[in-house]
Subunit: 400 residues, 4 copies
């Protein structure tokens, strides 16, 4: 295997018109495997259970990912306190361990390491630009020390905070990607996707796009709006999308967190591998060249992206050794009527049943119409108390 | 950690009224992780990618499993030829590697190792009792050599073949469990669940029940019928269930393989953790004391069983360190309306939407009414040819 | 138009192998038109709004019905008191008016008049056989006086009460048909459909079958069981089915009344005309020759039966002047993509969407497990009081 | 009953802030009763089966309608030729008969007669303004002769044609209402609802709004946009809505005609009476004071509007004699668990199941992207030939 330095950088790849396959979402996948706690969603497992994190990196690499994102979501000290981090690792320990794991696995194949930062409790609580930037700076110090290949500012609901992040990331001299978790209606302040993209590019991001919060169809649609905005402004950028692995046609502006099923009953919404192939093709057709996933993406979902785009890339991922193209492994099945499913048109047109006749197909999102600055959104260090929860339950019942 | 010999045996546990939590299905979970090929479904990964198999064992152990089943499904030499096993490991290599992995992880906690055999292509192709028994014997030789703790004959559609398997397993002197993959209508020859159970107990199985092919609700119902049959016959047994992790209300007698979504579009049917808690409770109330899962069960599903039954077991599984009871980890979430979901009645009554308004909630099963002995079911060593597939596709189109 | 006397009787038709098309349900159709009150469901409109009742008879005649059932459902004096009958017509007035309307319209075409009786509050309240028979006798006196062509005992949940009714009807010397509102599980005392049919035939019914409470698929299945029972007993009979015009796959033993949607939210379950053609064909194939409908059937549903069976009958109904076979009237539509729907395979295979993504596809039936004799089912003359309703609402909430 | 002249005019009512309840759709209701042919949808029944048309008028009057629209949809001579009109009534005969029927029933209660014109084949075929206006003029001559109370130009997909209609109607001196069959995206040329409304008001319409093509929710939303446009332009108008009685959340710009279920499989989409009460309240809250329905509205749907708005109107409709408020007639039902449904909160929150687990909840609309002027939309006198249909079927299959 070639040393990391010998690999083409993210910008060399994209500038050359190459496709870059991202990875999937770690917090959801590791929650199901038993290593992340839903609610706090903190990544102390990087230090606490490195073999589990390493294994997931390997599965994504094998599935075709060119990017190992460090498992550093929400890895700032203030967030880590009094959350799932019962073994009390410091933010620095976690960030460093995550960088080492990503690099170890990236070295096993043709992948780059991307250090990631995301939106902060401090911004929601109306802290100053300086305070918020200081938080990003602290994480980035580790990324520089560990010499990641590029940086991603991801999962921002307000473009203003994302701009601040990009400005900090740019100080490293490394390539910078920036993704918002917004839909076609724009960020939570109503800034349109086109304008958001322009502002991110002007702040210095070379790659812009969308991650999380919405399904692939919605994310591709939103990146298209971003691309239109950038081009209309006479600017240039590369585009990326890392959507949910869940169908969310019923989301409103705030995305899947508002769906009543979040986060413990999203199973019926999980995309099939065929849905993923459709997404990969649509993203490609929209001009997106950095195509990956976020929460809900399992390794086989990433493999489906790599398989769909194998004609463009010129090769199949390693993991395809265990996967037949469009189901052709079924030609080896015991039952003849299952062998008859070994064909593209079968899987491409199938409308899969939910097996849940007592459930609806869409939900009404929650969402109390509060945004940054509202008292309900001020973040506190302590877990919500029983009294506070009682008030919330009553409020929820009134909103039903 | 106590040495393996110091652990209570499976029968000591069940005789004492203890609950035994099984593990989940390896072929489906590892297919999604990239290590098993759908269609052949063979377990060469035990030898080829041991770290991936070990990691899955560990996740089930952490989730609360007391049983590590050796990853030896379909691990007979005839099945392994010309299937997914491109590295050409022998059946013996695979079976031995699987035993070693199961034992290594079992030793990390309070789990036993179970060696498993399942239905054979030979039986479907009408080979003799002697021939079929010889196949079981070959796998069992490895299990004896590796000194597994007990044996499971699982995934049989015809009780006659299961009886043969039990008779072979009994020769080892180890405890024997036997599960069929049938529903309330009985085996593929129309033998009722009650009669099937009686025949298995008479053949020597100390534990009988159901695995795979149907959802938890259906499996519990079927085990109840088995229990009624055994008790009516004046016999005694322990009962186990290892159902699918998919909702299958629309199955007919042959189970989920006939559903049009098998195996690549079952996502909308995946059970939530709350569905699993309901299953655990119903299984317990039905008198089942060996409660696990099969295809579709991920580690968090097993953890849900262990959490639901923690009052009876007296402890939570290790993995609950990263999981709040009934969603109470959400009390730490950023958004107040998500914090309001940190309560049992919310998750217990939620009817999760599919996010797929263009899809139905139930499917009509395929199934061409053929069973053992029919020409279409004679097994061949070669992959189905293009000409054979063409005939199948036409036949399928006529049956639509 | 030939005089009534010149028409072939119901038994002459059936004995000759002719198909008899029944009519649809009056109480549901007239409720939607504004002339029947849901809850009491009494037929005082026969006397109060004769033009509305006459019009509905005419529409069914035009749709192809050979039978005009008198609109006399629940038309006994005790039922009429303190129910919807605010103008205080006597039972005799209503029964006579209904006979006159049915005869007037029957004379406009090739239809017979059938006088109908149905289950009584008295039976539910455990009155004696004599008391119950006296109620039937009172209605039948009018039917004899008005010289209806034959009699139908319909809508019985207990075969015993139906036998009593048949015994009374037989005293008139007119042909007698008897239908129960039960499903494949049998009557509310658990008497199987086969045995029910045998008892009705032995009581003197020449035509037996099923009406109301279940969808066509279920009713045809149940009539098949009746036919098997009759034939096994070495008896002979003609068979009829008059099912609901609603899809009810989720019903339990007691039928659609237990569905939460009864009676004011059944709209999404209404059968299309194509569903009706399928029903007509299946009923015909099952050997049923008196094929009609009950609650939910509108005139166009009956026309669909007559159109499907026009090859067997040799003619189309009058109403087909305004209806193209399998949608061929659409060949005249303005939009070309609607003209493209003018074909059988389009409508026969369409899976119509509900337009209700927030609703499920099946419901859990209510039903408190009470039957004849239970205090909750004792009938009272007065409307349920507010105090009684309060108790019921609480009970319902507990059962949710 | 007061003579027609003594009634308050439509504008006197609306100017005084009174609510006006419209009627429902005649072509769909009479198609189900057997008097209108789907495809041509012509109203020759006014002359051919007057008793059926009169009865439907009466049912709407009884349900609370204040407006009897003449049954003159598509009643122009060119449309009538070679369509369903096999008895060859002239356009004049049909228009006159329709006026007489509407007047006769209007005189039985507090209702006005409205003469209606709708979009013409001539406009679609690109005939001149003069030609199109001449067609409207011919129908209006009858309305003037028969002295209808006011005029409605309804069911226009292009605002330009609606303006021409309004200009012709204004020449009579009678009050003029104008409704388009468009959604929030505007007319088929992309003119926004707000601008459409302004143009109709400027053309002389005193009442503007929406009818047909979309469900109540969408229509109310669209009328709101019209109202905003009118108010922003400093103009004044009254507002009306006459939506479909079908749920159509899956429609695109062209409305329900493009749904695959149109017109013969819309049953699962039919609104319940409770859906209708919600619509009435939302329309009222949006400032709409002329509230009625179109295709799919049956008499009980109109009654539901009148019942919901009875507090504002001060009285219940005549038909409520046979209908309990919010289901309270069920307090008289035989079964106690049905009596427990006699309450508002039960019906208001119920999510009715479709009873169709094999069907989806939404459809993808057809629609070939053609509009006025396209060869496929040129209207011909002859029925589409077999050869033409064959081409359409092939085209449809390609679009699937």
């Amino acid at each position: 295997m070639a040393p990391a330095g010998a690999k083409k950088s993210i910008l060399e790849r994209l500038d050359a018109g190459e496709l870059v396959i991202g990875d999937g979402g770690f917090v959801f996948a590791l929650e199901k495997r038993g290593y992340v706690k839903a609610g706090p969603w903190t990544p102390e497992a990087a230090a606490e259970y490195p073999e589990a994190v390493r294994q997931l990196h390997r599965e994504f690499l094998r599935a075709g990912s060119n990017v190992m994102q460090t498992f550093t979501f929400y890895a700032s000290d203030d967030k880590l306190e009094n959350r799932g981090n019962t073994q009390r690792f410091t933010g620095q320990q976690i960030n460093e361990a995550a960088c080492d794991l990503a690099r170890e696995v990236a070295n096993e194949g043709d992948a780059l390491v991307a250090g990631g930062v995301s939106q902060t409790p401090s911004y929601l609580s109306c802290k100053s630009e300086e305070d918020v930037k200081a938080i990003f700076k602290k994480q980035i110090d580790v990324f520089v020390k560990k010499n990641v290949d590029f940086l991603i500012a991801e999962y921002f609901e307000h473009v203003e905070e994302a701009e601040w992040a990009v400005q900090v990331l740019k100080t490293t001299g490394k390539p910078v990607a920036a993704t918002l978790c917004i839909g076609p209606e724009g960020d939570l302040n109503g800034v349109s996707p086109g304008e958001c993209a322009v502002r991110l590019v002007k702040a210095g991001a070379q790659i812009v796009g969308i991650n999380c919060h919405f399904d692939p169809e919605t994310c591709v649609k939103t990146v298209k709006l971003m691309k239109e905005g950038v081009e209309k402004a006479g600017l240039k950028a590369h585009y990326m999308s890392q959507p949910l692995g869940f169908h969310t046609p019923d989301c409103n502006r705030q995305g899947f967190i508002d769906l009543p099923e979040f986060p413990f009953a999203l199973e019926p919404r999980i995309l099939t591998r065929w849905d993923m192939q459709k997404y990969a093709r649509e993203a490609y057709n929209a001009g997106i060249r950095f195509i990956g996933g976020c929460c809900g993406f399992e390794p086989y979902h990433i493999r489906a992206l790599a398989e769909e785009l194998s004609p463009e890339r010129g090769f199949l991922p390693a993991g395809s050794e265990k996967h037949g193209n469009w189901g052709d492994g079924l030609a080896l099945h015991t039952k003849p009527w299952v062998r008859a499913r070994a064909r593209r048109d079968y899987w491409e047109t199938l409308k899969p049943a939910s097996g849940r006749p007592f459930c609806p197909s869409m939900s009404k999102p929650d969402g109390w119409g509060v945004t940054k600055g509202h008292a309900d959104l001020m973040q506190q260090r302590e877990a919500t108390s029983k009294e506070q929860l009682k008030i919330l339950f009553d409020k929820a019942n009134q909103n039903d």
